[in-house]
Amino acid sequence: MSSARKIRSAAVAVLLTTIGAGTLAVAQQPARTAPTAADWAALAKLPDFTGVWEIGFGGPAGRGAGGGRGARAGGPPAGPQLTPAYAEKRRARLANPPEDSPAANCLPSGMPGIMGQPYPMEFLLTPGLVTIVIEAYSQVRHIYTDGRPLPADPDPKFHGTSVGRWDADTLVAETVGFSPQTDLGQATPHSDKMKILERFKLADPDTMTIETTITDPEALTAPFTSTRTLKRHRTWTIAEYICEENNRNFVDQNGKAGINIKKD
């Protein structure tokens, strides 16, 4: 064996030993294969979600935590029903509520609030992936439709980690692993066990409904379902939204809201 080859062998041995020690093993992400012509052609058989959509004002109930099924008189109370422990957490938050949320400082809301903004979103369908480009705060969601499973132990993220499948003409997306910095709106916390199931479908060619069901065995006594209706705007494009461009609003460490009215 030449000395160069010996060094190479030793290096490989060291490398293998290091990998064998394995304390920093990198989690395997599913590998994406190159889409075939058939993969692209298959997209044409899916419902046309492409383009720019926005929640219609004055539409059905179900924005944020305040609406949802059962909000009618005589029905069950509106809003997520909390377990005693999480109702207590919410009471504690509301006992000394900040005047504003961190969004005033340009922190995006994450899921599920980011899907209820007064700004449009664009759906992109590519093989194995649905991408939602959200204008508000320039956010993006990725819903993998390539058959991969949900991660068993996801890192907490503002938008969680999403996988989806097509159930006839409905995109069914499941999302897990949410940052504790997100909430259900109106000071309602969730646990790290929260799951969000979304069913996206076209009610007519320019109307999409998103039925969102939140389950959380620690925080909620029952699944909470709400439905949003979006209209397609065929002449719109997604615009730039840089929240830090000229943000004169703020909330400070003590929860006090303020505004900078100085003309620059």
Binding site: F57, G66, E99, S109, T235, R248, G258, I261, K263
Partner: protein
């Protein structure tokens, strides 16, 4: 965007109804904590600057207060993204324009508020409005 007083009234009703329905959504970026949402104040003066920027537009209006002192009012409106889809542009308001603007005033009494509606040069009504498509 000149409109008759009848259409103006109807438009106002629509906008008020729209805002009531959209209240939760319009508060998406920040709460109304700094504004007195229960009152309105009307300021008449001259536009000195229009910031057509995210996350909010700002109209700066130089106006003489009731003590005869010139103040600069900072008036926050919806974003250019939102307003741009509802008939506004970066030149909807220009420095030098005479403006009468109705606001939800700042609670602290300083010269600022949240945009409700405005009349430009005595004839053009500006409102937050509904989508144009």
């Amino acid at each position: 965007m000149q409109i008759s007083s009848l259409r103006l009234t109807l438009a106002s009703v629509l906008v008020v109804a729209g805002l009531a329905a959209a209240r939760v959504d319009l508060s998406a970026h920040h709460s109304f904590a700094v504004f007195d949402m229960g009152s309105e104040k009307t300021v008449t003066g001259t536009v000195s600057k229009f910031e057509w920027t995210n996350p909010h537009t700002f109209i700066f209006v130089d106006a003489t207060n009731d003590k005869g002192v010139m103040e600069t009012w900072a008036i926050e409106g919806m974003s250019p993204n939102y307003l741009g889809r509802r008939g506004w542009s970066k030149t909807s308001v220009k420095p030098g324009d005479r403006i009468t603007v109705t606001v939800r005033p700042l609670k602290d009494g300083k010269a600022g508020g949240m945009f409700v509606r405005a009349l430009l040069d005595g004839k053009t009504m500006l409102q937050t409005g509904q989508p144009t498509e």
